[in-house]
Each structure stands twice: as C-alpha cells, then as structure tokens.
C-alpha cells in the first residue's frame, strides 16, 4: 500500500514538477537569466484561475468553463511574464547579480500584491466539485482522483509538445541557436530581445499551468507564500538535472518528486517537512556533482 502510493502520487507530482522546471531551465538556457520570480508565475496562475472562475466571465461550474479559465489565466501570466521581463529584467541581462536582485524583488512584489488583494483569505483553487474530475479510480488498489491523472497527462503532453516545438520549428531552432552562440545567432538575423520576451512568456506559462494543475488536483488553498516551494523545486530540479538541460529537468523532476513523496508518506508528519527535500537534494548535488546530471553548458562556457 505504502509503496504503491509513493509510486502513483510520486509519478503524478513529478510530471507536473517537470513542467515547472522546464520553464525555469528554458529561460536560463536561452537568456542566462536565473529567474527567482519563477515561483511567482506558478502562484499567479493559481490566483488568476481562481479569480476568473469566481468572476464567472467564461461561465462557471462546468469543466468547460474551468478549462477556459485555465487557458485564459495561463495566457495572462504569459503576458505578465513577458512584459515584466522587458521592463525589469532585460535592462540588466548579462549582470547575474543584478538579475537575481531584480527577480527576487519581483517575487516579493507579486507576493505583496496578493496580500493587498486577498488579505488573510486563502481561496480554494478547485475544479467544479461535482464534475467527474473529482471522482476517483483505483490504480494498484489506490484510489486516484481523475483530476490528478489529468494533471499528469496534461503535463507530459505539454512537455512533449514543447520538445517538438524546440526541435522542429523555426523559432525553436532560433532558441537553441541563441543558447549555443548568441552572437552568431544575431548575425543570422535573430532578434534576441524579442526571442527572450517570447521565451519568458513560455516559461511563465509553463509555471502557471503547473501551479493550476498542482493546486486543483491536490485540493490546495492559494496563499501569498505559495511561490516559495515551487521556486525551491525548480531550482533544485534544475541544479540536479544540470542548468539549461531539458532532459535534466525531466529526470531531476522525477527524482525529486519521488523523494518528496517518499518523505511525505513514510516519515511521521512527513507532509510538514517536504519543502526541505528539494533543498536537501540541492545541497547534496552542489557538494557531489555541481554541474548536475546532464549539465554541460556550464562547462562549455568555462
């Protein structure tokens, strides 16, 4: 029973974590930005999903309206990500310390905004209560909500389509070109500024999707603190997998996802201490193999 639960819920969470980390690694790999506000986009996704659902502009109470709300929220976060990037991060790109300071400030600003608007109320971020997504199916004897299955399947599908986007499309190739040699990519006619803005939009959207999928399927409440755990997750997954490595973000997500779930289920009161797990893994990796499992970009930059 115990091991089955670890495997099933570990797999589901890991899948969503992979998406979250993919966004983080993408913007790092392409523009060199370590975006410490990545968790904020996760948080904004969940809040905007809740707000749009509550306002009922796109209908309410049905799965369709929820999915529309999700899409709309994710696009909004993409726009927010892209605009904040252009206004605040882009002017300091190339100066790592300044980028970190700016992105930490952004994270705190978003946190304060949420407190301003919501005060001490913590909205539940849910699918409609009476939809089939809130019913469950037994897998290996463990009851699993359909919403969680959806979270996993949707994450993996998005991850795969992003891979196809990067390898097959013209813009995807330009992204890879910039990550390999920014200057030569410019000589080929790539407008890097616009490309960075697009990458940041995609990165923020991935975080937003992850935020909505995790909160809805694990029936959580949104709160102004909720950007911190996903940030720790993205950071540690990407350090474990190797900064800038897409394969690394997938493998790293599964390692950390299972580790978290193992602690949550097998340690007494484990649920209270899971946020320590990614950080502990990160410290271990930094001690033992600082470039991560698949990191080579860092080596190449010397």
């Amino acid at each position: 029973m115990l091991i089955e639960e670890i495997i099933i819920f570990g797999t589901i969470k890991s899948g969503v974590y992979a998406l979250l980390a993919l966004g983080f690694t993408l913007i790092y790999g392409i523009s060199g930005v370590v975006n410490l506000a990545h968790g904020s986009f996760y948080m904004l996704g969940a809040y905007l999903f809740f707000i749009i659902g509550t306002l009922g502009i796109l209908g309410s109470g049905t799965i369709l309206s929820s999915i529309l709300a999700l899409i709309f929220a994710v696009i909004l976060v993409g726009v927010i990500g892209s605009v904040t990037y252009r206004l605040t991060i882009h002017p300091v790109v190339g100066d790592e310390i300044a980028v970190m300071v700016v992105t930490v400030c952004l994270a705190l600003i978003f946190q304060q905004l949420v407190i301003l608007v919501f005060g001490v109320t913590f909205p539940p971020v849910r699918w409609p209560e009476d939809s089939f997504l809130m019913t469950s199916i037994r897998i290996l004897g463990v009851p699993v909500l359909y919403s969680r299955i959806l979270a996993f399947v949707a994450s993996m599908a998005l991850f795969a389509s992003l891979l196809v986007f990067i390898t097959k499309t013209k813009i995807g190739k330009a992204m890879r070109a910039v990550s390999q040699d920014r200057e030569v990519a410019m000589l080929m006619g790539v407008n890097t500024e616009r490309l960075y803005m697009l990458t940041m939009a995609i990165s923020a959207m991935l975080a937003a999707v992850a935020g909505i999928l995790i909160t809805t399927s694990f029936e959580m409440f949104a709160g102004s603190w909720m950007w911190l755990h996903p940030l720790a997750l993205s950071f540690s997954i990407v350090i474990l997998g190797g900064m800038g490595s897409i394969k690394g973000s997938l493998v790293g997500a599964f390692i950390i996802g299972y580790a978290e779930q193992t602690v949550a289920i097998s340690v007494p009161e484990g649920g209270q201490i899971i946020s320590v797990v990614p950080l502990a893994v990160m410290v271990l990796v930094l001690l033992l193999r600082p470039k991560g499992l698949f990191g080579k970009r860092i080596e190449m930059e010397e």
Binding site: H90, P91, V92, V93, G94, D95, A98, V99, K170, K173, A174, R176, A177, Q180, D181, E183, V184, A185, M186, L187, M188, G189, V190, N191, T192
Partner: protein
Amino acid sequence: MLEVKDLVVHYDGAMALNGINLNVEDGEFIGIVGPNGSGKTTLLRSISGVLTEVEPGKKERPSLSGTIIFDGRRIDKLKAWQVTKAGIIHCPERRRPFSEMTTLENLEMGAYLRKDKDGVKKDLERVYELFPILKDRTNQMSQTLSGGEQQMLAIGRALMAKPKLLLIDEPSLGLAPILKESVLECIRDIWLSGVTILLVEQDVAITLASAQRIYVLAHGKIAVQGTKEELMKNRDVREIYLGL
C-alpha cells in the same frame, strides 16, 4: 555599396580602430590584411553591428563613432539582425557553427530571415553543390565536423542568407595549405556568382591572389591600400606590411 567613414572604436578604454575610411563597390572583391590585433575583426564586427550588441547589463561597452553607409542607408545605429536583413552577412572568425545542431539545421539558421521557401530550397541545393561534403554530413552534429568542413559550413550558412555583401573573417585560420586554397577557390566562385566580398585575412599571399583591391590595416588605421600591382611595386610596403 558600402562606405565606412572616420570609424573610431574604443574597446575597454583602448582605441581599437582609429579613423577607418573604406569603400566597397558593388561586385568587388576586397581584401583586408594586417597583423594580429590590427583591428581587422573589430572592423567587420562594427559593420555587421554585432560589436555594440553587448548584453544590456554588461559593464564594459565598446563605443563606436563615425558613419557606415550601405546601399545609401546609414547602418551604424542598426541592430545586428537589421543589418543582416539589409543584406550584409558576416561569417565570423573561428567559423562558430552552432555546435549542437546538425549541418542542415545550421544551414537553415542561415536562412532565418527569409520567407521565400522555394528560393531557400534552391540555395540549399547550391550550397550542397558548392560543398558536396556537407551533403554527406547533413544530419551530423556540426561539432563532429573537421575544421575544413566547419569552415565550409560557416560559409554555406552565410550563403543561405542570400547576402548582397559577404563579410568573411579569416576563413583560412587553422587550415592545411591545400584546404586554404580550396576554401579560397569557393569564395572566388561565390564572388563570380555576383556576391560582393569583403575578406579579412592574415594570409597575405592568398588574399593578394584573389582580391581586386587590398587594404592594409596596422594599429587600427589603414596603412596603405591599392591593387595587388600597386602594393607590390612599392618595396617598403612589400617588406614592412606584406612580409613578402
């Protein structure tokens, strides 16, 4: 076609180019020679606009003054991608292929700004005709290519952009003498097909053999210029600048 006037470039507080005047007519093959550190690469980087494309947060920024005019239009304030769009393609020093992309993907990147799919397809055929070895390497990662193949890839990639003016930086660098010859032969073919060439080289002999006019760069200035015959006539120029 291209006119550089009083170009001055400061780099890390030091002067890299000190008042360069140069012009290239449509259809010419121009060579620029000069020793290491004379400012040849800086000159090409200034023209293609990549010199001033430092990331916004970097503290050390090269400064550029003077004017660069291409096809009657000032380009010294343009971004690198706009210069590329205008038709100047810069094939950089040390070839610099996108190492984790295949030969084909590298060539496709060359055609990044082009919308004419049929034309791109035709040019791809042409590049493969010019450099048959690249066809055999189509799906190979470019980092596994030999130095000569990488140079052909870099030139092919630049050709895919359909340049009006092609800037080539040290194509012979690190190549065996026989390969140098064949790479230069290819550049001559490209020129004969109607592309204006501005070639920067340390190898004086092969430049003299190909270019119609030559500028000799020393200490960030144009020391002498002229046709091969004019330069060779003067014994001082021959000994001091060309080492022949």
